[in-house]
């Protein structure tokens, strides 16, 4: 019997596995997923691996070693389409904090045998190494958005994933703005939508886990926070989290960093 399902491979680089787990977390939809897509290589879920090439590769994680940099090229070569998932793969992740520090010194201080550790000085997103067909944001990614992207891929249509601010979702959800009503330094106005504005709905300012939105104006937002009394160290901390390596956030933290 011929199997005309599209084949899927899921790959991991420097990351926490949280985004891959979002795929396993699609419990209700998983059977439909397995009917539609042939999961050919997903070692987090099954040790049975089918050799490539693959119709679609989902890539989690950032590039932090020379070995990674080679491996992602091989993966690209055997993937018809390649979609990156999560802040590590799209922006370098929290580990991109090394980009602002001295990795040599880390190696000496942290490890008993520094000579065992082979690592690059930077953590970089996949798109800096190979062509990426679509980048799905989030730390972790949103399960509904993942299903939307997979459905769009299978049915050859454009995924409905907007790049406007978290504020648009926050307002549609009916949350009273925590920046205006509680003077919290919220990242929402410069952050890419997709999570459904979860944090403000629970009374906490947005952390920026989806990275920069389509037209981020970080300087204007920082000026707003400063009027509420946010100091420079807190500004730097806010922009140096999971998407510290994304250009708009990196520029903001460098401008306000010591």
């Amino acid at each position: 019997m011929s199997d005309n399902r599209k084949t899927l491979a899921v790959w991991k680089f420097a990351s926490c596995d949280g985004c891959q787990l979002s795929l396993l977390d699609c419990e209700d939809e998983f059977l439909t997923l397995a009917d539609t897509i042939r999961i050919a290589n997903f070692t987090e879920a099954s040790s049975a691996v089918i050799a490539g090439p693959y119709d679609l590769s989902l890539v989690e994680g950032s590039i932090t070693t020379t070995h990674d940099a080679e491996r992602i090229r091989e993966i690209r070569a055997q993937s018809r389409s390649l979609i990156t998932i999560g802040a590590c793969a799209t922006a370098g992740g929290i580990q991109a904090l090394r980009n602002f520090a001295d990795v040599e010194e880390f190696r000496r201080v942290v490890y008993a045998r520094p000579d065992y550790i082979e690592t690059l000085a930077t953590s970089t997103p996949i798109a800096q190494h190979v062509k990426v067909d679509f980048e799905l944001r989030g730390c972790p990614i949103d399960k509904r958005q993942l299903l939307e992207v997979l459905s769009a891929f299978v049915h050859r249509r454009r995924p409905v994933v907007r790049a406007d601010s978290v504020c648009t979702e926050c307002k549609r959800r009916g949350t009273a703005c925590v920046m205006v009503a509680q003077a919290q330094p919220c990242m929402g106005p410069v952050t890419h939508s997709g999570c459904g504005a979860i944090c403000p709905a629970y009374g906490r300012a947005c952390y920026g886990c989806f990275g920069p939105m389509e037209s981020p104006n970080a300087e204007a937002l920082i000026a707003g926070w400063q009027r509420h009394g946010t100091g420079e160290p807190d500004v730097v901390r806010a922009f140096r989290t999971f998407n510290a390596g994304a250009a708009a956030f990196r520029n903001a933290s460098e401008k306000h960093g010591a």
Partner: protein, 390 residues
Amino acid sequence: MADASPPTSPDAATEIAAAFVLPAARLADLVTALRMEGYAVHGPMVRDAAIVLGPLADAVALPHGWTTRQSPGGYRLERRTDAAVFGFTHGADSWKKLLHPPRVRLWSAERQGADFVVHEDAPAPAKLALFGVRGCDLRAIAAQDKVLLHGPYPDAEYAARRAEAFIVAADCAEPSGTCFCVSMGTGPSARAGFDLALAELDPHGDAHRFLVRIGSPRGGAVAAQLDLAPAAGADIAAAAALADIAAANMGRAMDKDAARALLPAQRESAHWQDVAQRCLTCANCTMVCPTCFCTTVEDTSDLSGDIAERWRQWDSCFTFEFSHVVGATVRESASARYRHWITHKLSAWYEQFGESGCVGCGRCITWCPVGIDITAEVAALQDLSQRDPR
């Protein structure tokens, strides 16, 4: 400057001669009467450090003794020294969320063999009572009526929610720091478009009561059930005096006629770059604006490919998608986007709908995270054009 015209509604079928008095302790009876009539009553309540609109089970949930302090980009909930129920102005949201909901499914389609069937989502039958609608908001609802009801393409969802909506208006006695309804000719008192209108009197003592004006036959019918005493002339005069005081205490002002002419003339002003430096293009101003009506449509299919859905949700002219056509975004810069927004609100709206698109509620000023102020931007442009008249 104050609105001295008598509280009559040109829309109302009956002449509004009578006004009645509702003791504050009996406000609950009004909520109950509406619920008994089958209305889902929605009104203001305290939540998330703000006053927001939500379903009202009873009058207890109303923000008794609360007020707010508002400024550009700032909103603080504060305790009052009295028990006023309507002692605050606009909150974090508007009635738009009930009449023109943020997200609705329009239809779904299902594959059946080689064919497919479409299930249209008929608008949910809604019998809403809006409790505590301000003068500016009555005019905002009228503005959305023009767009979504009386235009060439009436909106079925809006029509279904609007048709039976019962409106209890509430006069403003204390405007906030961002209110400018007097400039826009929309407040501070309810003038037209309500079923009942309340003016709150003496909230600090035992005489706490509401002057009740009737704006429609069904408003009259609900009031009749409450068996209210007619208002004394002194109460009517007291409500009018409060309106005068409110009108004299506006937080802001704007010359709406000047703005209408100014904005198209200042299309090339360098000032737009100045706004662009400050604007986040976050879209909060359009989302909170009670007249902004723009939506976008999203089509999706599920993994199996057997179900497709079309959803409609609030959009904003501050997003890239909004002006995305054939592979590019027309209004790419923040300056172009802010200019489009303010020009539509204050000028182009006249050409389209014969009035201003701004009712002076001040929401966009308060809820802009960085406090960009529509009245200040108009004033700045006016100032520049006078210095460099071209």
